[in-house]
């Protein structure tokens, strides 16, 4: 099974003629993703890494039946690109771009959620289902096929944890990087719901960080709706209040968003919380 991306994924990459888009189109295809099209306005008719390029997402969908989009366009154009994909009927969108303006984010996230479109990101590393498909920039070699679903607000920290899992022969069903922005298209709860329903997923790893109350809300959801065992890690246990720690969303503001409160909530909901990222594999094996 796996979630969000799998063997049925037919991917269109917007911004494919840029460095990132071009590089990762090959990496995704090598992982097994069915990359059917690319889009860059004004560059229709070109071919990048044997992938046909179209001027618009609508045209790409019409010609290739793409059902998933990966967004690599620069931040000023990300909202346009995401809304274009939604309008073209794409049902799953992964937006990699970081530094998207907050008001653009609120707009595109609202539209996606109201239309039942899964929008992962922006400012995220993407989604990977080992053995099936990868949409995004997560390095392929860290994965191992298995039964643990991973959901995370971080990029490289996720790589660190997934890599540590794979080294201990613990494989993954799907790994979802939801991104570090304040208004993510997909949140912890959305992914927990998918993992709970997914037959392949037997355990769940949740990687949170300081800022906001998404982890506390996820804990409430877990208590009511999630039966599968959860191992969590919260980054920023030693971060000071009022300082933005790299991610736009990683800030303890007005006393809210501390690691302490998140850890307490998750433990209260029955999750095992690792003190160090490297403890995650051990807790999964317990």
């Amino acid at each position: 099974m796996a979630v969000i991306v799998d063997n049925n994924t037919r991917l269109v990459i917007t911004g494919i003629t840029g460095y990132q888009g071009s590089y990762h189109s090959v990496a995704m295809r090598d992982f097994g993703t069915n990359v059917v099209a690319g889009v860059t306005p004004g560059k229709g008719g070109q071919v990048v890494n044997d992938i046909p390029v179209f001027d618009s997402v609508a045209e790409a969908v019409k010609r290739t039946s793409a059902n998933t989009a990966c967004i690599f366009v620069p931040a000023p154009y990300t909202r346009d690109s995401v809304l274009e994909a939604i309008e073209a009927g794409v049902k799953t969108i992964v937006a990699i771009t970081e530094h998207v303006p907050l008001h653009d984010e609120i707009h595109m996230v609202a539209v996606a959620r109201s239309r039942g479109v899964i929008l992962v990101g922006p400012n995220c590393p993407g989604v990977a289902s080992p053995g099936k498909a990868k949409v995004g920039i997560i390095p392929s070699k860290i994965f191992r096929k298995g039964n643990v679903g991973v959901v995370s607000r971080s990029g490289t920290l996720t790589y660190e944890i997934v890599n540590a899992m794979s080294e201990e022969r613990i494989g993954q069903s799907t790994c979802v990087g939801i991104g570090g922005d304040r208004v993510p298209g997909t949140g912890f709860i959305d992914v927990l719901e998918l993992f709970e329903k997914d037959k392949q997923t037997k355990q769940i790893v949740m990687v949170g960080e300081i800022g906001g109350t998404a982890e506390e809300e996820a804990a409430e959801y877990i208590e009511e709706h999630v039966s599968k065992p959860i191992v969590a890690y919260i980054a920023g246990q030693t971060a000071p209040p009022g300082k933005r720690m790299g991610h736009a969303g990683a800030i303890i503001a007005r006393g809210k968003g501390t690691a302490e409160s998140k850890i307490k909530a998750l433990e209260g909901a029955g999750a095992k919380v690792a003190r160090l990222p490297t403890d995650v594999p051990r807790l999964l094996l317990e």
Binding site: L102, I137, I138, S154, P240, R244, M245
Partner: protein
């Protein structure tokens, strides 16, 4: 990007929100005339100015000059006062609170209003605050302003003014891509006027490409943090003595946490982002050296990051400034072996995992 009070008030005035009559000076001599009794207010990007002695009344020009000369140059919680706002003193009948911010849980804008203003909104109990989330598909509508005005407990005439201020504050927020617009206190004067007593506006930094008008504004950063920003590096100064350089916000935070587990304490958080550009790595190491940590811990987990290129950047920085600070490095990614060898030859302490790196750096820092 936080704006100084007077900049925020300029924006409010531009959008039609009444603010007290006033002017800004950087030298007390520049005060020539005042519009009656005034308040002299330090313009710094930090809260708690009043308690620190940065806000004082004055009644004559002489008085205002004297007060201004005391406040100018004042260090308020690490921020030097370079300008003061000299502003007509309001004859206050009532102080309220009005703010618009982001509701992260609901993924929309949120208006907060309270009939109790002039104190920090965190100190006001929830039942005294009206929360009005703004559904993105409905947008701000006057009924929201009417609901807020009714909650304030005002006479009809002032209610109408508050409805107007709500609309204008929302216009300001949207037009300027602000993530916070706050009036605290929103004052009702004895002659029945609704005026912004103080103003806080934070512009979304990610929107600055379409707001050139804010370019060059002062920011609430240390000189090193400002330098880092110019280099597109996320850099936060903390109070420990280990300088952490990592790639990715989550990994950098996790490195800080790991250090703490081994008894060390981070002094700098430096997130390189997804890069293996040797010039950026060199810049990062040089910047870190300026922060004078006792140990530098480099933790790179790269998917496509080339470790030998990262190593090259580190070596370049070491050569350039003959860095004496011990460096502990853990790099993972493409050409890992080669990168590690290059660093080992230059005397960098190698580590193979995150925990080992944190342990070694902590040990060095406690020496």
């Amino acid at each position: 990007m936080k704006l100084l009070e007077y900049k925020a008030k300029e924006l409010m005035k531009k959008h039609g929100i009444p603010v007290p009559e006033g002017f800004v000076v950087s030298s007390a001599d520049h005060i020539r005339a005042i519009p009656g009794p005034v308040m002299v207010k330090a313009q710094v990007l930090i809260g708690g100015r009043g308690k620190a002695g940065g806000i004082k009344p004055a009644s004559t020009v002489e008085d205002a000059r004297q007060v201004a000369s005391k406040i100018l140059g004042m260090n308020i919680r690490g921020f030097i006062t370079r300008e003061v706002l000299v502003e007509k003193r309001l004859d206050i009948a009532k102080e309220m609170y009005l703010g618009i911010t982001i509701d992260r849980s609901r993924r929309c804008l949120l208006i907060m209003a309270s009939p109790e203003g002039g104190v920090e909104i965190e100190a006001v109990p929830d039942k005294k605050i009206l929360f009005v989330p703004v559904d993105p598909f409905i947008g701000y509508q006057p009924f929201m302003g009417r609901r807020i005005a009714a909650f304030m407990g005002l006479a009809k005439e002032q209610e109408a003014q508050v409805v107007g201020v709500c609309q204008k504050l929302m216009d300001l927020l949207v037009h300027n891509d602000a993530e916070l617009a706050e009036i605290n206190p929103l004052v009702v004067t004895r002659d029945g006027k609704v005026v912004a007593g103080d103003a806080k506006v934070t512009i979304d930094s990610d929107s600055l490409f379409r707001h050139k008008e804010f370019a060059g504004f002062p920011e609430d950063m240390t000189p090193l943090e400002e330098k880092a920003k110019r280099l597109d590096i996320a850099f936060v100064q903390l109070d420990g003595n280990i300088g952490v350089i990592a790639n990715g916000a989550g990994l950098t935070m996790a490195t800080l946490d790991s250090i703490n587990m081994y008894g060390g304490k981070a002094g700098v958080f430096l997130d390189l982002g997804g890069t293996d550009d040797p010039k950026k790595v060199r810049d990062a190491v040089l910047l870190m050296e300026e922060a004078k940590p006792k140990v530098i811990l480099l933790n790179i987990f790269g998917g496509i990051t080339k470790c030998d290129t990262v190593a090259e950047g580190v070596l370049e920085a070491m050569r350039e400034r003959s860095i004496k600070v011990p460096i502990v490095a853990r790099i993972k990614g493409v050409n890992e072996e080669k990168g590690r060898e290059m660093l080992a030859d230059a005397g960098v302490i190698p580590a193979s995992g995150l925990s080992e790196a944190a342990e070694k750096a902590s040990k060095e820092s406690l020496r």
